[in-house]
């Protein structure tokens, strides 16, 4: 740390002293402000936009926000890279398929159950692999994704490799089309995820996560129950990812392992927080909106393979030149101006 030949990297900084603290005021402002924003946003979009396509696209972007935010709880805050987002996401989606076949539960309940299932997977995987160095955890998540995919491919009840068709209900429980209903649910989930992330960030739990990220041995020596906290992170992160996957069957009406376990979920959920910035709840939102919009535009105008290429290249470029993401760049500017 004190060696002369280390170049000066802007460290991921918790933002205290740069973004003014005033925590109690800030928290109240956030809750009220964000609910207001959400409601206004919902009203505007539901009532003013009639082209269904925008709801499709909006759903995608919101889904990415949730995935990116969920990933960041384990990745950015705690320092453990998860390459298996696809697994958690797909477990949520396939839980919904099973529930859809067996019952007629409303979608929000399916989301909760999907979240529980993915949370259990997150817990289990964490318990097996979190005692190892972070690198082995990352590799294990890759392994998990493939194992989960193989299991689903061989499970005929949910269609196996052929996939399964899900009929979208005619009527939504609230006014408007079913897509608008799913979109509203995803908006609610987005708000919940961001609220959770922000709350964690400013809490003792978040401080503990940061300590683990910075130096796990030292954190343990300082009294942080590292295994317990890491399990909380993996479980919570997995649960949120699962919840975001649960409405998918109704959204796409045809679900197959190749698309639901698609590596694009893994890359996106890594790229969005990295490009947006991993130290704050704002980063994943910035990254998700930016990359999500680029991908929507690219898919429509060029091709869907090319848009994935763009995401991959952006990830590599940002990781090299702006390791703290866009939020990190903004923070450095502020700090430079203050000094």
């Amino acid at each position: 740390m004190m060696h002369g030949n280390r170049s000066e990297t802007p460290l991921p900084h918790r933002g205290k002293g740069v973004i003014p603290r005033g925590s109690e005021m800030g928290t109240a402002k956030f809750w009220i402000g964000s609910v207001l924003v959400g409601v206004v946003f919902l009203v505007l979009t539901r009532w003013l936009i009639t082209n269904e396509y925008y709801f499709f696209a909006g759903y995608q972007v919101l889904q990415f926000i949730v995935l990116a935010t969920a990933w960041n709880i384990l990745g950015g805050y705690t320092g453990y890279t998860n390459f298996g987002t696809g697994a958690f996401f797909a477990v949520g989606a396939y839980s919904a398929v099973v529930l859809h076949k067996l019952t007629s539960l409303p979608v929000p309940v399916m989301m909760l159950i999907g979240g529980v299932m993915s949370g259990i997977i997150g817990f289990g995987m964490g318990y097996l692999t979190l005692r190892l160095k972070g690198v082995f955890f990352a590799i294990a998540t890759l392994a998990l994704a493939i194992v989960a995919q193989t299991l689903i491919v061989n499970w005929d009840y949910v269609g196996g490799a052929r996939g399964v068709y899900v009929i979208r209900p005619q009527h939504a429980p609230i006014s408007g089309s079913y897509i608008q209903y799913l979109y509203s649910l995803m908006l609610a989930l987005t708000w919940v995820s961001v609220a959770i992330a922000r709350t964690i960030e400013r809490s003792q739990l978040g401080l503990g996560f940061n300590a683990i990220r910075d130096d796990e041995l030292a954190a343990e020596a300082a009294g942080v129950p590292t295994l317990r906290l890491k399990l909380i992170a993996t479980t919570l992160s997995g649960a949120l990812m699962g919840m975001s996957g649960a409405p998918l069957p109704y959204y796409v009406t045809y679900l197959d392992p190749a698309s639901s376990f698609n590596l694009s979920y893994a890359v996106n959920s890594v790229a969005m927080p990295m490009i947006g910035g991993m130290t704050s709840w704002i980063g994943p939102i910035v990254g998700a909106v930016l990359l999500g919009t680029i991908q929507q535009l690219a898919t429509v105008t060029i091709s869907s393979a090319l848009n994935l290429l763009i995401v991959g290249v952006l990830l590599i470029v940002f990781v090299i030149i702006a390791p703290n993401g866009i939020v990190g760049l903004v923070q450095s500017r502020w700090r430079a101006r203050i000094r």
Binding site: M1, L207, E220
Partner: protein, 245 residues
């Protein structure tokens, strides 16, 4: 005579075929200043790691404050009152100094039965701890803005923040100038006066000799001397270990 605060019985540790520690028996009396010395590779750091819980020992038992702590994870040992500082300082790089100290206060002190410091009290304690090691003016800075000796002091402050009863100071002075060594020694003496039992693991003989009330010498994973500092170093085996055959 009070119970010793730490009793190590027959402790052994191997890495594959390599025996790092063999049949280590040490008692640490409450309130004493114990020096632990030995040539490089003698197992001092391994011993600290085993006692603090960073490593699991293979054989023997460790009793702290009357409790067997074998197999207990490190964070629980810290909460019981057994703290250690690291040989190479390991600060939380993305947190400022206050937050670095806040972690042990929140997760150790506040986690103990009965204790519950409010956030104002915690803030106050952080600043007091920083002031004790003359780092108060850098409270809002990041660890990378610190000099070598300041990092060492932060490392000690963080260990002390957990309000330990026993502190392992692992080579806190390596590479420092004589006046810097003196600075650290002053801090350690003061901590001992406040009631913290200190085990000083160190290479700098002058510091160890002036600090310790008792000396334990480790060579090649075995304890070869244990007693008053002046006698321990006159032990022929110790001389041989340091000066060669």
């Amino acid at each position: 005579m009070a119970e010793p605060i730490l009793t190590v019985s027959g402790l052994g540790k191997r890495f594959g075929g390599f025996v790092a520690l063999e049949n280590i028996n040490i008692t640490v009396e409450t309130g004493e200043r114990l020096g632990l010395i030995g040539p490089n590779g003698s197992g001092k750091s391994t011993l600290v790691n085993c006692l603090s819980g960073a490593l699991h020992h293979d054989s023997g038992s460790v009793t702290f404050d009357g409790r067997r702590i074998d197999g207990m994870p490190a964070y629980q040992r810290t909460r019981l009152g057994l703290a250690r500082s690291f040989q190479l300082p390991k600060p939380f790089r993305s947190l400022n100094l206050v937050d670095n100290l806040r972690i042990p206060l929140l997760y150790t002190v506040n986690a103990r039965h009965g204790a519950h410091l409010s956030s104002t009290e915690i803030d106050a304690r952080c600043r007091a701890l920083l002031a004790d090691v003359a780092l108060a003016d850098k409270a809002r800075r990041l660890p990378r803005d610190l000099t070598q000796v300041e990092m060492r002091k932060l490392e000690l402050a963080r260990a002390v923040a957990s309000a330990p009863r026993l502190l392992f100071a692992d080579e806190a002075m390596a590479g420092l100038s004589p006046s810097e060594v003196e600075e650290i020694l002053v801090v350690l003496f003061r901590l001992n006066e406040q009631g913290i039992t200190i085990v000083l693991i160190e290479h700098i003989m002058r510091a160890v000799m002036s600090f310790s009330t008792r000396l334990v010498v480790l060579v090649a994973g075995q304890k070869i001397a244990d007693g008053a500092p002046q006698e321990a170093i006159r032990n022929p085996e110790v001389e041989r270990a340091y000066l060669g055959e």
